[in-house]
Amino acid sequence: MSKRQRAKVIRGVQYAILIAAVLLIIVAADWGQIQRAFFNMDVAANLFPTVITVALGNTIFYTVLGFALGLGLGLVLALMRLSSVAPYRWISGIYIEFFRGLPAMLVFLAVGVGIPYAFDTRLDRNVQIMVALGLVGAAYIAETIRAGIQAVPKGQIEAARSLGMSPTRTMITVIIPQAFRIVLPPLTNELILLTKDSSLAFFLGSTLAQQELAQFGREALNTNQSMTPVLVVGVCYLIITIPLSFVSRALEKRFGKGVARKQAKASATRSGGQ
């Protein structure tokens, strides 16, 4: 058998395995049961429009709250991590290890139950969600941003400084914007993770009007004795997350092109200048 023939056979076998697996699933699955359990249209119809107006809306709202705090705190932590003052580095390092290492569920319980016990104060529920999601998100975002800042070429700092910019101004106007462009994909990733973690708001209690997608789906599952709500809720999550990925990719492309063009231009002028 020639090399080419062997490659052909191997490819044929791979296709065969794939087709066999798909066929096996189709034959083995109890489609009637699946339809009854997951595609019960009566149950699904009852979920609308609440699943969109309340549950989806709350999920987005909680995620935005958490991400806003996470981004702010994450930026501060990233700068602390890069600080020349050792205690700042330690604090930041400990924070990141702590909140990155804990299940988000424990953080939610700690915020919902721990803070009121510890400080004898009651935070508004939205603030609790913001704090819990933000604390978790910040730990990941800090590491991402730090990597982004470190990835900005050193020449950029030197150039900005030699133009007479102060270090703060350099950081704010030159380094951080470039760092954000670099970390756009992992930041999107973090936003998607936070979208899903917002389901843990359940631990803080909710009224019907405060239910987010996962809790809404679970309660509907329990009330209707059907898996259909879970499917509907799952689709709702995808409605949020898939467009996010697209937006992120589009932004990346745009920024990426911008960078390439600017760099090309810059090098052109430089060579032209010479």
Partner: protein, 308 residues
């Protein structure tokens, strides 16, 4: 880089405490008000913690939460001249007292059995419902009672008295713990577990709606449900007791009972339920198989006897 980054950092580091402060500032807003010397966590509302769904005690109907517990607490809210607001929260944090201690709600009404462990963390008002544990199995199952459960998979709900009872009385069974009542019933239905244990009221209600499962036995545990308040909140606890007593007196309690269970309460005496127990277990299977969702049916009637 060293010196530079230190200076760069200054504004950033100043930000951190500012953020923390502003968060703390957001917190203190919803200070409660008091009605007749009873402190409420939020103004003009009697906030109730519960765990959904627990039909017929509390469950969603359209855009509202309704049920036996809801109606009872409504009486208290009415008496205080406020509206009831219901918060859905995990059962663990209700029964551990965390929700009440941290001011998430004023009362907890969640079909919750009064027991010593919980008494340490929360204060119960007088009992408002008598319950026992029941055994839910598939309608075509051979399981008839406790003796048949050895070596089988038995579903229980986390943090409930049913779980406790199963731990003590079913050492030879494999206990599978679920977060919700309905996850538990769903797993009994799909055959993943051989049986499920939960309070009789809700399991009879479920079996009535679902002919493929049946309640085949009850384990008399002499349990009573109570509405709970934060430890030491005697003003509210006494007010609840007054309202409950008045409602039992003037028939409002019976009315609500009939609305959700289809029959009048057999008696306000807890001891009666214990007497009815033996005969009940035998009748149950036949009754449950009638699959009577109908509220006036015999099955719910017999469920009633056992509960009281």
């Amino acid at each position: 880089m060293e010196r530079r980054s230190r200076r760069i950092l200054r504004p950033a580091v100043v930000l951190a405490p500012v953020l923390a402060l502003s968060l703390a500032a957001c917190g203190g807003d919803s200070e409660g008000a008091s009605v007749d010397g009873i402190e409420l966590v939020s103004d003009g509302q009697l906030t109730t913690c519960t765990h959904l769904p627990y039909e017929p005690f509390q469950f969603r109907e359209g855009e509202e939460i309704v049920g036996f517990d809801v109606d009872l607490v409504d009486l208290v809210a009415e008496d205080l001249g406020v509206e009831q607001a219901i918060v859905d929260t995990p059962f663990d944090t209700i029964q551990s007292g965390a929700d009440l201690d941290t001011g998430k709600c004023d009362v907890a009404a969640a079909g919750m059995t009064i027991n010593d462990v919980r008494e340490e963390n929360i204060d119960f008002a007088d009992p408002y419902f008598d319950a026992s544990q029941a055994l839910l199995v598939a309608a075509d199952s051979d399981i008839e009672g406790e003796a048949d459960l050895a070596g089988l998979r038995v579903a229980v709900q986390t943090g409930t008295t049913g779980q406790e009872w199963a731990r003590e009385n079913l050492p030879d069974s494999e206990l599978v713990t679920f977060e919700d009542l309905a996850l538990l019933t769903a797993y009994v239905q799909n055959g993943e577990v051989d049986a499920g244990i939960n309070d009789n009221g809700v399991l009879y209600d479920f079996a009535g709606d679902n002919p493929d499962v049946a309640v085949v036995a009850e384990f008399d545990t002499g349990e009573q449900y109570g509405v709970a308040v934060r430890t030491g909140n005697d003003a509210l606890r006494e007010r609840i007791n007054e309202v409950l007593a008045a409602a039992r007196e003037d028939g409002r309690y019976d009315e609500i009972y009939e609305k959700w269970f289809g029959t009048a309460p057999a008696g306000d005496d807890a001891a009666e339920g214990e007497d009815a127990e033996d005969t009940e277990a035998d009748d149950t299977e036949a009754d449950a198989e009638e699959g009577a969702a109908d509220e006036e049916s015999e099955s719910s009637e017999s469920a009633e006897d056992s509960e009281n």
